[in-house]
Amino acid sequence: MTAVMAPPVKPAPPPVKRVRRGGGIAPPWLFAAPALLVYALVMLYPSIVGAGSAFTDWSGVGEQRSFVGFDNFQELVHDDQALGALRNTLLLTLAIVVVQNGLGLLLALGVHTTIKSRMVLRVIFFAPVVVSPVMVSFLWKYVYNPAPDAGLNAALNAVGLGALRQDWLGDPSLAIWSVAFTVIWQCAGYSMVIFLAGLEGVPKELHESAMVDGAGTVARFRHITWPLLAPAVTINVMLSTVGGLTLFTQIIAMTNGGPGYATDTLSTVLYKQAFVFGKFGYSTAVALVLAIFVAAVSFLQIGYLRSRETTA
């Protein structure tokens, strides 16, 4: 930063606009002020207040609240609904991260070829990404219709797999996977385009010389493509993890957390605690746990995945 300051033997440079290490002449603080103001108002201030009320018994109505220490967290570790929601959130996240990215990678490898339909297929697989999750959820709610002659059940029957018909959203042990699949169907195309961008960055020459050396398709994927896809893997895993941990809309639209509490997530529980039961203090305690989870998982993943990128 002091590199451009004149040494003492020379006269000081004229006090015009100072050139800094950033490479340009720095603009005034005023440029960042409006953005900082709005960001502080909408995100920083409410988040700090929210984190603070996790230690109170605030009901959300009026100003009355008293400090209760860690009581809300004590309640949380004994609350079966919240613990079930934590388990559901982690299961959903794991399923989404693994299956969505696995499918996304297969789709990307499939359309990153000379097949004639490759451009059309990209558009088809990506299209659900731009549609509102609410609408995709309702679409799948119809597909999962429990009636034996509608949606997926009717289709299974039509292809002779009638024995596999299920109450997709009504069966407590199945509902969570049905919801996960909806998310995967909508977002696999997102993973696909990120992997595609990664595949387009793999130099052709590497594949060509490996082929000359007699490497097969699998060997070339393992030793050339996969290591070079590391940055795309990082982005995809990060995005799907945060998306999975904060899953809300699809649950509210498809099952509202049911049957029973079978599909409640941390987001739906904190929403219900706040807006249905009026326990704002407790709700923000759940939100704080969620925030800590997201932050911890993000940091761990960035650390691990980035080190994979550099050693690859």
Partner: protein, 275 residues
């Protein structure tokens, strides 16, 4: 890897097309449903509509008030994206060009917002918006989206500006241009590729967002498309044909825009995240 079209390629082509057909099955089920009358839905749930009926579309458009919902969504999305582009690029220009501990800390402070789940501040923010008298208004939503999406916007712009050479603006500034003039005439035009990405990612997110508009706009008459669709589907839940027609109509505008601009949209989604 692009090589010649071989028998193996043809097999792959068949597998991929079959995958796409299975992938599109829910869309087929929904669209055919929308064109059927209740009798056809009961008797032939999966066959194509025969004869197709378009009655459900008119009824759905009316019952879900989709016309005004589209206007509300457009107004909120366009305004929020414009404000985000202006505030985000200005702040990023400062953060990218001002070296020093303070501006670096500010940059990190913005990055924190990317991983901070909005649920943490959800309830205090609701109170704040209520206290400011902005519940049920367009301004409240625009303020919310600007604040929520700024971290990501600033992150994208800052990375891009850092990769630009500083010579152009330095020349303009030395020639006597003000900082704002240099930004408007020299920097901002250079930001076009990243502005495209910022525009696409923010517009798609805001257009489709559901929870906050439900909370802030519910009952105000200014509901966006997802909020109206949610209320509509829950009201007519057992009238499958009508619900399907409503969903098709509500999803159509963004799908048409996507098909027209697919190249840019896909590039925006796949390139903007290279961090």
């Amino acid at each position: 890897m692009r090589t010649a079209y071989r028998p193996r390629t043809f097999v792959l082509e068949l597998v991929m097309v079959a995958t796409a057909v299975a992938f599109l099955f829910p869309v087929y089920a929904l669209v055919t449903l929308a064109f059927k009358d209740p009798e056809q839905i009961a008797n032939a749930p999966l066959s194509p509509p025969d004869p197709p009926s378009v009655d459900s579309f008119g009824t759905a458009w009316q019952s879900a008030s989709l016309g005004s919902a589209l206007l509300n969504s457009t107004l909120i999305t366009v305004s929020s994206v414009v404000v985000l582009i202006v505030l985000g690029s200005l702040a990023a220009y400062f953060l990218a060009r001002q070296a020093g501990r303070l501006s670096y800390s500010l940059y990190i402070l913005f990055l924190v917002g990317i991983i901070l789940p909005f649920q943490l501040g959800m309830i205090p923010l609701y109170q704040l918006v209520n206290d400011l008298g902005l519940l049920g208004t367009y301004q409240g939503m625009i303020l919310f989206y600007t604040g929520i999406q700024l971290p990501f916007t600033v992150f994208l712009y800052t990375g891009f500006i850092r990769s630009l050479p500083a010579d152009y603006t330095n020349a303009a500034l030395i020639d006597g241009a003000s900082h704002l003039q240099a930004f408007v005439h020299v920097i901002f035009p250079l930001l076009r590729p990243i502005t495209g990405t910022v525009l696409i990612l923010n517009a798609v997110h805001i257009w489709n967002d559901f929870f906050t508009p439900l909370l802030y706009l519910g009952g105000s008459g200014r509901e966006t498309v997802p909020v109206r669709v949610f209320a509509f589907v829950n009201e007519y839940t057992s009238d499958y044909g009508l619900v399907a027609a409503g969903l098709v109509l509500a999803a159509l505008p963004i799908l048409v825009v996507f098909l027209l601009l697919q190249r840019y949209v896909i590039r925006g989604f796949s390139s903007g995240l290279k961090g």
